[in-house]
Amino acid sequence: MARKLDDIFNECYERIRSGESLESCLNRHPEHAVELEPLLRTALDIGRRASYIQPRPEFKHWSLVRLEGEQHYISQQRQPAKPGLSSLRRSWAVAVAAVLILLLAGSGTVIASSNAMPDDPLYTVKLATEEVKLTFAVTDAQKAQVHIQLAETRAAEVETMANEGKTDQAAITAERFAEELEQASLAMAKMESAMSTAPPSTTTTEPTLTEPPPPTPEEVPPAPPATVTEEQPTPEEVPPAPPATVTEEQPTPEEVPPAPPATVTEEQPTPSKDTKLDKWATQRERFKKSVEESASKSLTALEKAKEKASPQTKKDWQRAIDKIWEKGREREPDKNGTWEWRRNGNGGESNTVNPTPSQPYPSR
C-alpha cells in the first residue's frame, strides 16, 4: 500500500512540476486524494520556500570571474604536461606572439587600448596585448616582473573605477588584480624556493628530486621543491579529484591522468650562482615592495569607495577588499622563511578581516 502510494505521490509531483494542476492530478487518483493532497501541497510549499534562496547576483558574477581565472590557470598548467612538445609549443607561442606584436604594436587600436579602462570597449584589446607580453616572459623573474606590472595596472584601474563609483567594474578588476598578485607571488615563490635550495658551492653532482618540466633557459633557477604548491595544492585544501565518495564510482583509477612523475635531474654547476642569488634577492625585495604599494593603493581607493557607497553595495566593496587581503595573507612566508602558497579553502576567514586604508599591506 505505502509502496504504491509513494509511486503515485512521485508521479503526481512530477506531473505538477511539468505544469499539470494539483486538482487534475488528484482526480486521477480519487481513492488517494485525501492522503495525497496535503503531502503534495507540502512538497510544493517546500519548493516555493526554496525558490526564495537565490545567490546574490554580485556573488554569482564574481564566482564566474574567479572560475574563468581558474580555467585560464588550469589550461596554462596543462600545457606543459607533454614534455616532448612543451618546448616546441613554447617556441611557436613566442613566435606567434612576436609576429602579433610586430603586426599590431603600431596599430592605433593597440596604442589606444593601452589606456583603456575596464568599462571601455577597447579594454579587451588591452588584456589581449598583456597576454602577449606574458608569452615573452620565460623565467620566473620575468614572469614575476610582468605580473607585477600588470598588478600595478590593475591597481590603477581599481582606483579609477572605485573613484567613479563603478561597483561592478571595480569588483571585477579587483578580482583580476588579486589574480595578478597570485601569479606574481607564485613566480616569486619559485624564485624564493630556488634561492633556498641553491647549492652552497659551485660544483655538485648530487641528484635532486624535482618536478617536470625541467628549467630550460640558463636564467632559470633550479626547479622548485615540492613545498611550492603552485601545481600541487595542499591535499586538505584542494584535493585534485572529487572527494572520496565521488571517486568510488568516478573517475576510475585507470581513467585518472597519472600525476607527472618525479624526475631526477642533475643540477648544473653555475659559476656565478652567488651573484645571481644576490640579484634575485634584490629583485624579490623590489617586487614585494611594488606589490605592497599596488595593493595599498587599491585598498585605499576601495575603502574610500566603500565609505561613500550605499548600504546595499557596501558588502560588495568589502568583498573586493577582502579578496585582496586574502591574497595578502596567502603570500605570507611560512615558518621556514619560504614562500608558502595555498589556495583559499573555504574563504570563511575573509569576512573577519577588517582592513583600514591606513594599514600597510600586508601588515602582520
Partner: protein
C-alpha cells in the same frame, strides 16, 4: 542546442565555454542545496564556489557513462559540505538575520520570506539523514528521481519511499505554518 551529454563532453575536453554553460545551469541549485545545509550566507557562497572550482579541476577525468553530470556535481557538493561541517563547531546556528531573500524590496515581504526559509532549514535539520538528503536533492535542488538515486547510490524505489516519508515528516513539522 547541445544535449547536456555533448556539452559535458566538450567541457571534459577542455572547452571553457562549455564549462561556463554548465556552471550557469547548475549554479543556483547547488547554491540552494548548500545554503540549506550550512549556517550562513557567507559559508554557502564560499562552499558553492569551492564546488565549481573542484569540479573544474576534476572534470578532465569525468565519464558520463558512470554518473550523470548533475549527480557528480551534487556528490562534490555533498562531500564538500560534510568536510566543512566536520571542521566547524556546532555551537552557532543560522540566525534569522542571516536568512536570504534579500533581493526583495518590500521589507515586510523580505522578512516573511526569510522566516519561511528559516523554518524550512529547521524542518530539514530535523529529518533523519537519509530522508533529508533525498528531500534536499529532490525538493530544494529539483533533481529527478534518477539523478537523486545516482547521487546517493540508492535504487529509485528506495528514493521514492524516502521521499514520501520525508514529505510526511516535513508536513508535520511545517503543518501549522503552511495550512494555518
Amino acid at each position: 542546442m547541445l544535449s547536456e551529454e555533448h556539452l559535458v563532453q566538450k567541457a571534459v575536453n577542455g572547452d571553457q565555454a562549455a564549462f561556463t554553460q554548465l556552471y550557469n545551469q547548475n549554479f543556483d541549485r547547488i547554491h540552494r542545496y548548500i545554503y540549506v545545509k550550512v549556517r550562513s550566507q557567507a559559508e554557502a557562497e564560499d562552499l558553492t564556489q569551492d564546488v565549481f572550482i573542484k569540479a573544474l579541476e576534476s572534470i578532465s577525468s569525468y565519464k558520463w557513462r558512470d554518473l550523470p553530470f548533475a549527480a557528480w556535481l551534487f556528490r562534490i557538493a555533498h562531500n564538500r559540505v560534510i568536510d566543512h561541517v566536520r571542521k566547524q563547531s556546532k555551537e552557532k546556528r543560522a540566525s534569522l538575520d542571516e536568512a536570504y531573500a534579500k533581493s526583495v524590496e518590500d521589507p515586510i515581504q523580505m522578512t516573511e520570506r526569510n522566516f519561511e526559509v528559516y523554518q524550512l532549514k529547521e524542518a530539514m535539520e530535523r529529518l533523519p539523514e537519509a530522508q533529508r538528503e533525498v528531500a534536499m536533492l529532490r525538493f530544494i535542488s529539483q533533481l529527478s528521481i534518477a539523478e537523486v538515486a545516482k547521487t546517493l547510490g540508492k535504487s529509485e524505489g528506495t528514493v521514492k519511499a524516502l521521499q514520501f516519508n520525508a514529505t510526511a515528516s516535513l508536513r508535520k513539522t511545517l503543518h501549522g505554518k503552511i495550512n494555518g
